[in-house]
Symmetry: C2
Subunit: 317 residues, 2 copies
């Protein structure tokens, strides 16, 4: 018996681009977009939005900026049932650079922020809502947040006009019991709001934690094709689509893009279940050290990474 | 707060050998054994036990047979805290070929059987128990078993002297709610018995299903290094050890074997998250077609495999 009110958001390009600075071919991005449309995926998050000058165009591909021109080169006017989403980091987009929603193919802004930025996050979300967009707030790194401060942040969200709030397992460190605990906290603190989930797959739990969130009331779910994403990656879209059983979703177009474009990327980018990412997740650590290790000639020295990671944690304490 | 009564069984060689006909180097098997001992793993299942002549020694490596001589070449007299387990398929080992436990380094027989073989399974388990071994019964392919017949089989197990019974997700098709349902059924039908779990990772749920089993009372847990095993493989031992938090377990020796021997095997054997295995699991199908597809030149034709799999299911119905 499927849940009709669940929405699926594909963030293949946005999160996958964290591994290659968004240097995807236009054909790849078009294929992912077309597959999302054909598969009935509700939202496609195509990248981060940033004002010109925030980053170098020489270093980063177009999906670090999501200019209206680049967006339209892929989605045209997007006369489809798949909405277009962009992610905004605090301080990277000037309010005056955001056009009214009626002039943009963007449907939704997702505001990513840390607990100490929650007021700036709500301010940006309200700003884009006033311009006619949908908005969410995605609170990152909650597994490191002091609980009293988290409760305060949730109260601020509750009092805001933002309709959707995300549980984010930034480090891939959460087990099912963590998910149950936080979903209960979020739903009780935020009556009437939609809760979303964005997982990371360090411990092979991104999909199962997504299921746990569904059982506990989450209604907006992130996933990527073949789980591509930063470090260990995300919940695989193909698994989620098969699980949801909603006949509006179709697996075949997703498999086609994976076959033609995403699977071949594994020759260039090491996302997925690699043990430095697993160790970082199990120790509730940011993946940056694991990513640096994976980029070095010590990539296969797993014991070395564990020893190093444990020493760093003990140095802090 | 860790659960002291949980036992971990490594079946790296036994289940991994299904992918290479147990053609492992002696050094590799010794490394896995030494790592299990150093890591505090409770049982190491080193292979299947079979009488001579059941299979060709030219085709299969020693761990398809587990002769006493081959076992001792790796474990000596096994004066360690890690017990040695073998798996027995019905009809592959003659009762008279099984020595008394006092003359063997084997500590435990695990009897794998289908529902229609349950009486033969119990007979073999009772036979080895009478010779002084521990015994378990692992009921395979339960996701395809008619519920009335399953209830009868459970009643037979309840009335037997076999102390440990395994929930087995042979096709990697189970979600957390399936696990909850079957764990409740098994524990209610089998008062006083230990329940074990053996998962497959087709849908990246082997580890999370193992956690779900722990929460629901399972106390004997199978895992393999880097998840090596048939098709999509098993619950990764390194994830399970990190989760259990029991200080008697140590991660480092496991990482050492993975680094030195198991990870390099990925160059030769395609176990893990490959989409033909995922599709088979999500459709509750035996992995044999997916394994044949992965061995063919159609390996990367994911859409073709899905179309083929769906056609076969419809042909049956």
């Amino acid at each position: 018996m499927y849940k009709k009110d669940i929405k699926v958001l594909d963030c293949t390009i946005r999160d996958g681009g964290l591994m290659n600075k968004w240097q995807f071919s236009t054909e790849l991005v078009k294929s992912v977009y077309n597959s999302c449309v054909e598969a009935g995926v509700d939202y496609m998050e195509i990248g981060y939005i940033a004002s010109e000058g925030q980053f170098s165009r020489d270093e980063y591909g177009p999906w670090k900026f999501c200019s209206e021109k680049d967006l339209r080169s892929v989605v045209g006017d997007n006369n489809t049932n798949t909405k277009i989403s962009v992610m905004a980091d605090i301080g990277r987009i000037r309010f005056e650079d955001i056009p009214p929603a009626s002039e943009s193919v963007i449907d939704m802004f997702r505001v990513a922020c840390y607990e100490h930025q929650i007021h700036k996050g709500i301010e940006l979300a309200h700003h884009v809502m006033d311009k006619g967009y949908e908005a969410t707030i995605n609170l990152m790194a909650v597994s490191k947040v002091n609980e009293r401060r988290l409760d305060e942040a949730l109260q601020d969200i509750a009092e805001s006009r933002v309709s959707t709030f995300y549980l984010v397992d930034s480090f891939g460190s959460m087990y099912s019991e963590d998910i149950q605990y936080l979903m209960k906290k979020y739903t009780e603190a935020l009556p009437g709001k939609i809760i979303g989930f964005h997982g990371h797959n360090n411990q092979q739990l991104a999909f199962s934690n997504t299921i746990e969130c569904i059982i506990n009331g989450a209604r907006m779910l992130d996933a990527t094709m073949l789980g591509i994403g930063r470090g260990a990656g995300n919940c695989p879209l193909e698994l989620l689509i098969q699980f949801l059983k909603n006949p509006k979703y179709r697996l075949k177009p997703i498999l086609q893009s994976i076959q033609d474009y995403i699977k071949p990327l594994q020759q260039e980018i090491d996302w997925g279940y690699f043990l430095p990412y697993m160790i970082a997740g199990s120790l509730n650590q940011h993946p940056r050290d694991a990513m640096a290790w994976m980029d070095s000639d010590k990539k296969n020295d797993l014991v070395g990474f564990l020893v190093d990671a444990l020493e760093k944690i003990e140095d802090l304490e």
